[in-house]
C-alpha cells in the first residue's frame, strides 16, 4: 500500500545516510594526522612490538580493507576495544547510553509540556504586553550557552545554597544492584534535577516559539473562522481545531529536538560530570582513545539519524493529508 511505500522509501534513505555517516566517521578517524596508536604505544616499545600492535588492531592492512573489516565488525556489533579501558567499546557505550537518554527525554518532555502550553497562551495573547516581553525573553534563553546556564545553576543551587549535589548520578560510595534500582532511587532524581533543568530551560524555546507561530497561523485559517460561525464554544474552536492543527509540526519537532539535544548534551554532561555518552566522547577525544571516541560518536549519530526518521514518520502518521493520500 501507499503508506508502506513511503515508509520503505524513508527507511532506504535512512540506511543510506547511516552508511554515509559511518564512512565519513571511519575516514575522519583514519586520515587524521598522527598515529592512531600514539596514546597506546609506550615510547619504550620496540619496533617489533609496535608492528605487532598495529597488526592486532588491523592497522597494517590497506585502508579499503580496514574499511571493509570495520563495516563487517560493525554488523556484528563489534565497535573495537577501548585503548583506555581495555574493554569492548560497544559494552561501554551501551552502558552509558541510558544515562544520556534519560537526561535527554526527561528534559525535553518537561520543555515540551511547558513550551506548548506557554506558546499557545502567548499566541492567544498576541499583541499584548505579556507577549511583547516574553518573546524576546524566550529568544534570549535560546541564545544561552547551555554549559553556562549549568554553571550558573551549579554556583547558585549547589555551591551557594547547597540544595543539590554538584555532579554525578549518585552519592559517593552508593552502590545499586541494578540500573533499575539506580534509576528508581530518589538520589538519582535528586542528582538529575540541575542538569535536567539546564537542558529544559534551554530547550523550551523551540516548542514555545513554534507553537506560538503555528497557533497564530492556524487562528487565521478559514476553518477556524468557520468553527466560530458554527457557534462552537471557544474551547472547541481553540483546542479542537486551532491547537490540534498547530500541534502537528510541534510533535514532529520533538523527535528532531531529541537529535539536537543529544549532541548538545556533550557540554552539559561535562559540567555536571554526568556519566553519559557526551562526556565519554570528550574524555575519549582528549585521551586519544579513538575506538571509544568513534563508538560514542557513532552512537550519538545513530540516535540523531533515527530521530530524523521518527520525525518524518510521525509527521506522516499524524497528518491525514499525508497518511490518506
Amino acid at each position: 500500500m501507499k503508506a508502506i511505500t513511503v515508509i520503505g522509501a524513508r527507511l532506504l534513505q535512512t540506511a543510506f545516510v547511516l552508511l554515509a555517516v559511518i564512512t565519513i566517521l571511519f575516514f575522519m578517524f583514519r586520515l587524521m594526522p598522527g598515529s592512531p596508536l600514539a596514546a597506546y604505544i609506550d615510547p619504550n616499545f620496540t619496533p617489533e612490538q609496535q608492528a605487532e600492535l598495529m597488526a592486532r588492531f588491523g592497522l597494517d592492512q590497506p585502508l579499503w580493507r580496514q574499511y571493509l573489516i570495520y563495516l563487517g565488525n560493525l554488523l556484528q556489533g563489534d565497535l573495537g576495544e577501548s585503548f583506555f579501558y581495555r574493554q569492548p567499546v560497544a559494552e561501554r557505550v551501551l552502558a552509558l547510553l541510558p544515562n544520556t537518554l534519560i537526561l535527554t527525554f526527561s528534559s525535553l518532555i518537561l520543555a515540551y509540556v511547558f513550551g506548548v502550553l506557554a506558546g499557545a497562551y502567548l499566541a492567544w495573547k498576541r499583541g499584548s504586553v505579556v507577549e511583547q516581553i516574553c518573546v524576546p525573553l524566550v529568544l534570549t534563553t535560546r541564545a544561552m550557552p547551555e554549559f553556562w546556564l549549568g554553571m550558573l545553576l551549579l554556583a547558585v543551587f549547589s555551591f551557594g545554597m547547597g540544595w543539590f549535589p554538584a555532579g554525578g548520578t549518585r552519592p559517593p560510595g552508593a552502590e545499586y544492584d541494578s540500573l533499575w534500582a539506580l534509576y528508581s532511587s530518589a538520589d538519582f532524581w535528586w542528582h538529575m534535577t540541575l542538569p535536567v533543568m539546564t537542558l529544559a530551560i534551554y530547550s523550551q524555546g523551540l516548542p514555545l516559539l513554534l507553537m506560538r507561530s503555528n497557533m497564530m497561523d492556524v487562528m487565521r485559517e478559514d476553518f477556524v473562522t468557520m468553527a466560530r460561525i458554527k457557534g462552537l464554544s471557544t474551547f472547541s474552536v481553540v483546542i479542537r481545531h486551532a491547537a490540534r492543527n498547530a500541534l502537528l509540526p510541534v510533535m514532529t519537532s520533538f523527535a528532531i529536538a531529541v537529535g539536537y539535544q543529544i549532541q548538545g548534551n556533550v557540554v552539559v554532561e561535562t559540567v555536571f560530570s554526568w556519566p553519559g555518552l557526551g562526556r565519554e566522547l570528550v574524555r575519549a577525544v582528549s585521551t586519544a582513545d579513538y575506538p571509544l571516541a568513534q563508538g560514542a560518536f557513532l552512537m550519538i549519530a545513530v540516535v540523531v539519524i533515527l530521530m530524523n526518521l521518527v520525525a518524518d514518520l510521525l509527521y506522516a502518521a499524524l497528518d491525514p493529508r499525508v497518511t490518506h493520500e
Binding site: W148, Q263, L281
Partner: protein, 304 residues
C-alpha cells in the same frame, strides 16, 4: 506624450537600478527588536575595533599587586580591576573586551560561509532540479545525520587548535538548514508566473536567477546568516569550554573554561563567569532579533 515621459524624472543609473532590484537586502529597520539587535552589534563592533584602547591590560598578562604578590582572584574594584582578576592574575575586564574580537570574527565569517554555501546549494538544487537536486539534497540528508557538536570536537581535536575549526565545521555541516530552506523557496519562485514569464520572454537561466530569484532568496540567506552568527559563537564557546579551543586567543568560552577549571563556581566568583556568559547571550540574541526582522520582511503578518 513622449516629452512628458522623458522630462519625467526617473531614478536612473546603476546604483538606483541595483537598489530597485535588490531592495530586499535592506536592514530590518522597521522592527524595534531588530533595531535593538543592530545596536547591540554596533556596540560589539566598536568594542572589538577599539579593544586595544578600551582594555587596560593585555588579556594574557599576569598581573601583580602593589605588594608584588600575584593579583589572583581579586574581586571587582580591587586595585582598579573593574571586574576583578582570574586565579592566574589576569584582568577579567580586558579579557572580556578582547573576547569580542574572536566572537565577531568567528561569528561573522561562519555566518557568511554558511549563508553563501547554503544559498548556492539551495538555488542550484531548486532551480535546476533533476540530478543536481537529487545529489545535493542527499548530501544535505547526510549532513543532517552528523551530530554537529561531536563533529566539531573531533575535528578540533585532530586539527591544529584554531578558532577557524568552528568555521570549517560549520561550512562542512551547517549549510544544510539554509540549503534546504532556500531550495524550497527557490522551488516556489521557479514556478511563479513572473519567472515563467521571464523564460517566455527569452531570459537565460543565469539572468532569471540573478534578476528574479536571488533578490527574493537573499533575505532568507540573511535570516539564516544572522542565526548562524549565534550558532558559531555558541559552538566556539562550547569547544573552548571543553578544552579544544585555541589557547592563544582569548574568547569568552575560554574564560568560562578557565573559571570552571579554577573552581570559580565553588568560590562564588560570579564576577568571573557571569559577564562572559552574559555577553554571549547578548550577541547571540542580537542575531536572533535581527533574524526576526528579516522574517517579517519575508513573511509579513498582517495583524501585528
Amino acid at each position: 506624450m513622449s516629452e512628458s515621459v522623458t522630462s519625467k524624472h526617473r531614478p536612473s543609473g546603476l546604483f538606483a537600478r541595483l537598489r530597485r532590484r535588490f531592495g530586499s537586502i535592506r536592514l530590518p529597520l522597521h522592527d524595534p527588536l531588530a533595531v535593538i539587535g543592530l545596536c547591540i552589534y554596533v556596540f560589539f563592533i566598536l568594542m572589538a575595533v577599539f579593544a586595544p584602547l578600551i582594555a587596560p591590560h593585555d588579556p594574557n598578562e599576569i598581573l601583580f599587586t602593589s605588594e608584588f604578590a600575584l593579583a589572583a582572584d581579586l574581586t571587582p574594584g580591587t586595585d582598579g580591576y573593574i571586574l576583578g582578576t582570574t586565579t592566574l592574575g589576569r584582568d577579567i575586564f580586558s579579557q572580556i573586551v578582547w573576547g569580542a574580537r574572536s566572537a565577531l570574527l568567528i561569528g561573522l565569517t561562519a555566518a557568511f560561509v554558511v549563508a553563501l554555501i547554503g544559498s548556492v546549494v539551495g538555488i542550484v538544487a531548486g532551480y535546476f532540479g533533476g540530478w543536481a537536486d537529487t545529489v545535493l539534497m542527499r548530501l544535505a540528508d547526510v549532513a543532517f545525520g552528523i551530530p554537529f557538536l561531536p563533529f566539531v570536537i573531533v575535528l578540533a581535536a585532530f586539527l591544529e587548535p584554531s578558532i577557524w575549526n568552528v568555521v570549517i565545521a560549520m561550512a562542512l555541516v551547517l549549510w544544510r538548514d539554509t540549503g534546504r530552506v532556500i531550495r524550497s523557496q527557490t522551488l516556489t519562485l521557479r514556478n511563479r508566473a513572473y519567472v515563467e514569464a521571464a523564460r517566455v520572454a527569452g531570459s537565460s537561466d543565469l539572468k532569471i536567477i540573478l534578476r528574479h530569484i536571488a533578490p527574493n532568496v537573499l533575505p532568507l540567506s540573511f535570516l539564516y546568516g544572522s542565526i548562524a552568527i549565534g550558532w558559531a559563537i555558541l559552538t566556539e564557546a562550547s569547544i573552548s569550554f571543553l578544552g579544544f579551543g585555541d589557547p592563544d586567543s582569548i574568547s569568552w568560552g575560554y574564560m568560562l573554561q578557565d573559571a570552571f577549571a579554577s573552581q570559580a563556581l565553588s568560590k562564588g566568583s560570579y564576577y568571573w563567569f557571569v559577564p562572559p556568559g552574559f555577553l554571549i547571550i547578548l550577541i547571540v540574541s542580537a542575531g536572533f532579533f535581527i533574524s526576526r526582522g528579516y522574517e517579517q520582511i519575508l513573511f509579513p503578518k498582517l495583524d501585528r
